[in-house]
Symmetry: C2
Subunit: 330 residues, 2 copies
């Protein structure tokens, strides 16, 4: 392996000091155009590449980088959230790197990230909070979609309770009587009702609370939604309003409805959860309980900001409200 070309080499070649090279390279003042041009020419000839670690170490204002961890980046929910977060991050002058942890064990991923970024945010599944904190080795961690309890752990969670209560209320005003629910479940896992489901059951009448289908195949997918909708309508034909726990599933339900000749929203109203922009291009466009959007991303960014500044003692914990995005399907 070749020794790296440093400013030292350029300085020697040009017969100037390292400082002069720095000035030339970074477009700083107090240097003559002639020497700058000469140095630039030499650095190119020598194949010089600055070391960002060295420069950031020496520099007073260091660039902040945060890592956003998702399950799979192919899920539009994550990519849209990433887009929102990216905007919020660059508005604050941060870099954001996106990491998907397909196979790598979560704790290992976190400790790897810990010496590459200044904060880690994402949907982390690991429930042992002490282990998470330990793996982060002092780097702030912001958990999404759950509420942290351990000291020093930050989190932004959703307020599903009020959201479902409000949604069901509004739907009733529009004539909904019998609700049905489409939930999905990771393949082969032991079923455990989600916080969403619990919030939903609190919001609807007892009969509706029974009409729940838990889709088995590929969770959160369009196919799961299609399968689930069919099963739901077979088992609970009275259903006049279907709530799917993700927009992708709702899209599958929409497709199933088309195929069965069920008019949406004429015969069955359909509501998703997530707020995917994709939901706007289906026909009919999808009404949804919107998680995504600038508000959520800004809130996350604020939490990160405080975590970055804070000495690490006080932990930020927020709960975010979910507005209803009325479109055509309900």
């Amino acid at each position: 392996m070749q020794r790296r070309v440093t400013i030292e080499d350029i300085a020697r070649e040009a017969g100037v000091s390292r400082q002069t090279v720095t000035r030339a390279m970074n477009g700083m003042p107090r240097i003559s155009e002639a020497t700058r041009a000469r140095i630039l020419e030499i650095s190119e000839r020598l194949g010089y590449r600055p070391s960002r670690f060295a420069s950031n170490l020496a520099r007073t204002s260091k660039t902040k980088t945060i890592a956003f961890v998702v399950d799979s980046f192919r899920n539009p929910y994550y990519s849209e959230l990433a887009a929102d977060l990216l905007d919020a991050a660059s508005a604050r002058g941060w870099q954001m790197t996106i990491v998907s942890h397909e196979d790598e064990p979560e704790l290992q991923l976190i400790s790897r990230l810990a010496n590459q970024v200044d904060a880690v945010v994402g949907y982390l599944g690991q429930t042992d909070e002490a282990a998470l904190t330990a793996a982060a080795r002092g780097v702030p961690l912001v958990l999404l979609g759950r509420t942290a309890t351990a000291e020093g752990l930050h989190s932004v969670d959703f307020d599903f309770g009020p959201a479902f209560a409000h949604l069901v209320d509004e739907l009733r005003k529009r004539g909904s009587k019998r609700f049905g629910l489409l939930e999905s479940q990771p393949l082969g896992a032991v079923y455990k009702p989600s916080t969403r489901r619990i919030a939903y059951e609190d919001a609807v009448d007892p009969v509706s609370a029974e009409a729940v289908v838990v889709c088995e195949a590929p969770p959160q997918s369009v196919d799961a939604g299609e399968l689930g909708f069919n099963e739901l309508m077979d088992r609970f034909p009275e259903t006049d309003t279907v709530i799917a726990f993700s927009d992708l599933m709702a899209m599958g339900a929409l497709r199933a409805a088309h195929r069965r000749g069920i008019d949406v929203p004429g015969q069955v109203r359909l509501v998703g959860v997530d707020g995917l922009s994709l939901g706007a291009v289906t026909s009919p466009a999808l009404t949804t309980l919107a998680i995504l959007g600038t508000a959520f991303a800004e809130q996350i960014a604020d939490v990160i900001g405080e975590a970055l500044d804070g000495a690490g003692d006080s932990a930020e914990r927020r709960r975010t409200a979910l507005p209803i995005l009325w479109r055509e399907s309900a």
Copy 2:
């Protein structure tokens, strides 16, 4: 601003040397469990956060970070490409940061990135190659969707010529006679036929070559596709095969076809370009000239890899083939 807590502070507090602290923090051997535990406790109490710049500077194997620059991350084409690229990057042990350049001038963005990452790859619009190279200050640049000519600039371009020839050929075999084309154009820009259009015109018969609609409103959008399809069918009712220059436009065309009661592929065959996974969930599913996929991402990653290793002298330039993804719409 507080002075930062360093290993020095911990060492002093613990009454050991800095090296011992390093050993404790990084889980290195040759240290007793007792002192490790004590040091970890102290570092937590003091709120120590390692400096990734210092550690990477001192470390022999540095982590590589590449930046992927896109127009807007809300376009599924870019987010799917990002996902592919992310896989290729993490397989190589690289970090990837995604940057969208909404307002920031491109050259400024590049020179900013130049001291934060080890390579920049993306769809860069700037045509002045010398300016690009200068802005990158020695950091390798990989241009996508165009072919670089200047020295030291890498690129991965598409081979539209053979792709369209092959596509048109295959479609003819399936009975297509009259082709129509949907292109889109940035709002308010002077129209300049794309390389895709030129390749297309070379592939079809003269009459078909006339049937081209350039959509004006939001380029590459579903709406543009819908508008364009309507105009195309009004002006060229003989058309039996529509090629849209992006999958999103094709999705809009599909919607328009449904609304006009035109059966796809029965009356009109429809083909998109991009290979979005989204195209698999429309009904009928979208046939497309696939850009996306592991092959493209791997090719890009290879180019980046060589750029990262290479002394910067030889430039890698590749052209990638586009396979046809036959689904239901054609």
